[in-house]
């Protein structure tokens, strides 16, 4: 997945979490890059018609950006599910993040032929847990969150 795809995916998830534009600071944090790098890439995304940036508010994906982000999220979901369900990797979230830049959509599509992804993907992806909601770790995290809320 290329750098632009990683950015649109992160913006898409931040917009879901913040229920509004994604702030540059939050985007930089999520991607572990400097705010200057994030700003530079936001400019590139704007020039490609994938995002719109409003000063003091943040960045919002355009319709084309959303399509691209959902494709990228599907690819990411395939990587997570492949690691968790096929290779039985416990730390699948951390490893998916490491592998994401090196795994191309074409490769993910082929890996997808041996995993049972749900039809609603990528809506299955939970931005809070950073995982597909059908994977075990995500549900454990949800249980913990529910327990905390109950306390």
């Amino acid at each position: 997945m290329n750098t632009a795809d990683q950015y649109v995916k992160a913006i898409y998830l931040l917009q879901q979490m913040e229920n509004g534009p994604a702030s540059t600071g939050a985007l930089a944090d999520r991607l572990d890059v400097s705010p200057a790098s994030a700003n530079e890439m936001i400019g590139k995304l704007e020039s490609r018609g994938l995002a719109e940036h409003e000063k003091y508010k943040g960045v919002t994906l355009t319709d084309d950006g959303i399509v691209r982000a959902r494709d990228a999220l599907q690819t990411y979901c395939i990587i997570e599910r492949f690691l968790a369900n096929v290779l039985s990797v416990e730390e699948f979230r951390a490893e998916a993040r490491e592998l994401e830049p090196v795994i191309d959509d074409l490769v993910a599509e082929r890996l997808d032929t041996i995993i049972d992804r749900n039809a609603e993907c990528p809506d299955c992806f939970d931005p809070e847990t950073d995982a597909c909601c059908h994977l075990e770790v995500a549900s454990e995290a949800n249980v913990e969150a529910e327990e905390q809320r109950a306390d």
Binding site: T3, L31, V86, L99, P101, V107, L111
Partner: protein, 164 residues
């Protein structure tokens, strides 16, 4: 997440090689099943039969070469028997519709494998990390495999063009 992250550890390298092994497993299983389906067909096509036979054998050989590299990295093992069974189960239930279907699928297999090795070689070249395997030898092996995948793409394309 780390944008522009490159291969930086033995663990990550081993994982990528393991993904390569699974991809080869998929190619091998698909070629094998398509090859079997030709046996059931009324009319055998010698050229496609030879292509699939060669593809399955080549994937098995690639898988062994990748496995040897992973072993040198002293990585945790992954359940290959289960993966083999899973891949087998997936392809046991799908049948290609015709020869063109088989060829198109084979082309996707070869192209995907080529892209995977090409990206991996690029990521390794961009990395300054030291691995448990000699980097030059590792890259040489991956380039050899990548070139065989490129030959595979060319071979399938030739047959597809002839059939048009």
């Amino acid at each position: 997440m780390s944008v522009g992250h490159r291969v930086s550890s033995d663990h990550q390298l081993a994982r990528l090689l393991q993904i390569g092994i699974v991809l080869e497993e998929v190619v091998e299983a698909r070629s094998y099943h398509h090859y079997q389906s030709l046996d059931d067909g009324e009319e055998l096509d010698a050229e496609i039969e030879s292509l699939l036979e060669h593809a399955a054998a080549e994937s098995a050989e690639h898988r062994e070469r990748l496995e040897a590299l992973v072993e040198e990295l002293d990585a945790e093992s992954i359940p290959f028997d289960e993966i083999e069974a899973l891949v087998e189960a997936q392809y046991g239930k799908t049948e290609p519709e015709d020869f063109d279907d088989i060829l198109y699928d084979q082309l996707c297999n070869e192209e995907t494998a080529y892209k995977f090795y090409d990206d991996l070689v690029g990521a390794l070249r961009a990395s300054e990390a030291t691995f448990g395997i000699d980097r030059d030898r590792l890259i040489d092996v991956l380039i050899e495999i990548r070139e065989e995948e490129a030959d595979g793409v060319e071979e399938v394309t030739k047959i597809m063009n002839k059939r048009q």
